[in-house]
């Protein structure tokens, strides 16, 4: 039976069922389904003055868009952030808030 072939979801493009692997499997890659930041209605905005650099938002972010190293202030990758608001909910210092995107 077919082995995984490391193609990403966005680039499958097979011409015959004989070529496809047995199950769809993809390997990690950046934004395999496109710039998901376009889905956002509200964006999380970080107040660096209040942030204590604990990294909890980084741990909880389901999309891995918090760029953080221990002891640093996180940066948000808005190309892929869908605006789910989990980082705002878990921030112990209320350093993050959701702001409506402009039309």
């Amino acid at each position: 039976m077919g082995k995984p072939d490391n193609k990403t979801a966005a680039s499958s493009g097979y011409s015959s069922w004989r070529e496809i692997p047995a199950v769809p499997v993809s390997v990690p890659c950046k934004g395999s389904i496109g710039a998901t930041g376009e889905w956002r209605t509200f964006r999380p905005v970080l107040d660096a003055e209040v942030c204590i650099k604990c990294g909890i938002c980084y741990l909880y972010c389901p999309d891995g868009v918090m760029i953080y190293k221990e002891g640093s202030i996180p940066e948000i990758n808005y190309t892929y952030c869908k605006g789910c608001g989990i980082c705002v909910a878990v921030c112990p210092k209320e350093a993050l808030k959701m702001v409506r995107e402009k039309q």
Partner: protein, 414 residues
């Protein structure tokens, strides 16, 4: 009771214990199950095997059957040989995850001690549970003796783990009638079993392998114009192709272990039979006695046992229909409300009649629902009904025949 490397031993055990022994002798790596009558003693026995270190497996306790199958999706994706067992409502509860297993092409094996579906509560033999999930992409085999339950588990892993198949596998038997009665079961030496069924590949399955060092995403979103349709076709293709692998595996097993299992169907006195009853499970086994008694009186009758319903034994049934048979009866111990016949398997069997080269008459029957007793005399009664169709073209007209199907035992007053 320890099954060491040495000799074959014969142990008197229940059908459920035969299932537990089958899993143990297959050296399963992971068991996850939730107790439900009449399956409970399968998992009790397995937890005892694990506790006493007679089986080197992880036993994962969970809060529901849905989680049982979810746990086995994970375990099987790491390449672990994975086992479960359930019944009735438990099987229905795990239905969503059954698709996750088959569509991820994971060779999980599970035994089902079939019982009636509630409400009203019923815990006795009735195959409506397994028949309700017959289209989930699992191979479905009925085991009609205790020995067959044990042996089938060994064969099931061999078939399911074949890289050209990679489909999960159910082995089904009737609640209480088989699960809780005791019979002698021959347990071969572990060495012969290990030779027949080696452990799964250490590196995991070729097609899907959960490994933290090489992360993957599985079950991805596939857009309509991508290959969702094609992945579905591959499952149907594997189902059809599994027929040859099943037959070959059974032949190999028979040679190695000195058994006499047939292929997808088992024919009994069908070569010259005018009238054949098609059934599955223990009722089909008991049907042979009715055939013997009628043959002794000179009636040319036969019995066909469906050993598998997924994949469906299409060729075998067409061969029967293209032979000499004039009338078939099809017995369902299960219901499919609103189906053309009210019975799931009779509908499928009768759908093949239009592909036969000859005209064959048929009578669908619903029997033994909710554990209602079916005696040999009852089965002889069905043959007599079928013989009246053959000899006089007389179909049953009494009240037990409703909407073209005989509801055996339907209470119709004095």
């Amino acid at each position: 009771m320890k099954n060491e490397q040495g000799k074959e031993q014969t142990i008197i055990m229940s059908g459920n214990y035969a299932a537990a022994w089958g899993a143990k002798c297959s050296r399963v790596n992971v068991v996850s199950a939730y107790p439900i009558t009449p399956q409970t003693t399968v998992v009790e026995k397995l937890s005892e095997f694990v506790d006493k270190k007679e089986l080197d497996a992880n036993y994962i306790r969970v809060e529901s059957e849905h989680s049982v199958m979810a746990a086995l999706v994970g375990s099987s994706m790491t390449g672990a040989r994975s086992f479960s067992a359930t019944s009735g409502q438990g099987l229905l509860y795990m239905t969503e995850m059954l698709h996750w297993v088959s569509s991820s092409r994971l060779p999980v094996v599970a035994t089902i001690a079939s019982r009636g579906i509630a409400p009203p509560w019923n815990i006795w033999a009735d195959y409506t549970d397994i028949l309700s999930i017959r289209d989930c992409g699992w191979i479905i085999q009925f085991a009609s003796t205790h020995q067959e339950i044990f042996d089938s588990i060994l064969m099931a892993y061999k078939i399911a783990e074949n890289p050209e198949i990679n489909l999960p596998y159910f082995i089904v038997y009737g609640g209480f009638i088989q699960s809780h009665t005791s019979k002698p079961v021959r347990i071969p030496s572990q060495k012969i079993i290990d030779d027949f069924l080696p452990p799964p590949p250490k590196a995991g399955w070729d097609h899907i392998n959960l490994n933290p060092d090489n992360p993957i995403t599985h079950g991805n979103l596939v857009m309509p114009e991508q290959e969702y349709l094609d992945f579905r076709f591959l499952i149907q293709d594997a189902m059809v192709k599994s027929k040859e692998k099943i037959k070959k595996t059974i032949q190999g097993f028979n040679t190695e272990f000195g058994r006499d299992y047939k292929g997808l169907v088992e024919l009994y006195c069908c070569e010259d039979a005018d009238v054949v009853v098609i059934a599955y499970g223990a009722l089909a086994e008991q049907n042979k006695i009715a055939v013997d008694q009628l043959r002794a009186k000179g009636q040319k009758v036969g019995s066909l046992k469906l050993r598998y319903i997924r994949p469906f034994p299409t060729d075998e049934l067409l061969e029967l229909f293209n032979g000499v048979v004039e009338v078939i009866g099809v017995v369902d111990r299960g219901t499919a409300f609103g189906n053309p016949t009210g019975g799931p398997i009779s509908t499928e069997v009768m759908s093949l009649l239009c592909r036969a080269r000859r005209k064959v008459k048929s009578l669908p029957c619903i029997w033994g629902i909710g554990g209602r007793n079916v005696t040999v005399e009852d089965q002889i009664g069905l043959y007599e009904k079928l013989l009246r169709i053959k000899n006089k073209n007389e179909y049953p007209t009494d009240e037990t025949c409703q909407h073209g199907t005989v509801w055996m035992g339907l209470k119709i007053g004095a």
